[in-house]
């Protein structure tokens, strides 16, 4: 069974204090590792897709990396507007290859 585990569950940072969120996955035949941002009362907002170990993608203050067992979302010099829940999801080859298995998310709070 595919599994995705995120840590920490919650993270509080000061503005400008860089940190990383972790996503560990066990998936049969990885076909993509996805990062989403979810604000309260809204649906997940797509950030990145990573397909193979060693791949990296960046967008503003966010950088996602992928190994064979984990993905990291690095947040550099965060701002209060980066406060949200960050979700990681893995797409495996089982169940027709379109099922996303989500982690429970990391709640990030960035304070002034």
């Amino acid at each position: 069974e595919d599994q995705v585990t995120q840590s920490p569950e919650a993270l509080r940072l000061q503005e400008g204090e860089s940190s990383s969120l972790n996503c560990s996955y066990t998936v049969s035949g990885l076909r993509g590792l996805f990062w989403y941002r979810q604000d309260p009362g809204k649906g997940p907002e797509f950030l990145f897709t990573l397909y193979s170990a060693g791949e990296e993608k960046e967008k503003e203050r966010l950088k996602a990396t992928l190994t064979k067992k984990e993905s990291f979302l690095h947040i550099t010099a965060p701002k209060p507007e980066d406060s949200a829940t960050y979700l990681c999801a893995a797409r495996g080859s089982t169940g027709g290859g379109n099922k996303l298995t989500f982690g429970t998310g990391t709640q990030l709070k960035v304070e002034l």
Binding site: F34, K42, G43, E45, F46, A89, G96, N98, K99, L100
Partner: protein, 114 residues
């Protein structure tokens, strides 16, 4: 990326009744997905809806409880039937990735069953 309109955004329903949630996409897509997000929990896939065929349900979800329609390539509905308080959750629709993009999600329907 596709733009998804999901209705209603929230509802409070009496136990034993049913609620139908609508999902409209601004472009034609082959695959649409329905997820449930229970309070404090992760998103769980309920079923995959392909146009022209029966929906495929994940383990723990059955058609009698969550009937799905997919009449065309831009629209789908999910009905939550014979509701109980345990069905209180956020329900989200999603569509398959377009080129160089991830799965897109609607804004969700927050359902409270009393």
């Amino acid at each position: 990326s596709a733009v998804i309109s999901q209705k209603p955004s929230r509802d409070i329903c009496q136990r034993g009744t049913s609620l139908t949630i609508q999902c409209q996409v601004d472009s034609q897509v082959t695959m649409m997905f329905w997820y449930r997000q229970q309070p404090g929990q992760s998103l769980t896939l309920i079923a995959t809806a392909n146009q022209g065929s029966e929906a495929t349900y994940e383990s723990g979800f059955v058609i009698d409880k969550f009937p799905i329609s997919r009449p065309n390539l831009t629209f789908s509905t999910l009905t939550v039937s014979n509701m109980s308080p345990e069905d209180s959750s956020i329900y989200l629709c999603s569509v398959e990735p377009l080129t160089n993009y991830g799965y897109t999600f609607g804004s969700g329907t927050r359902l409270t069953v009393v």
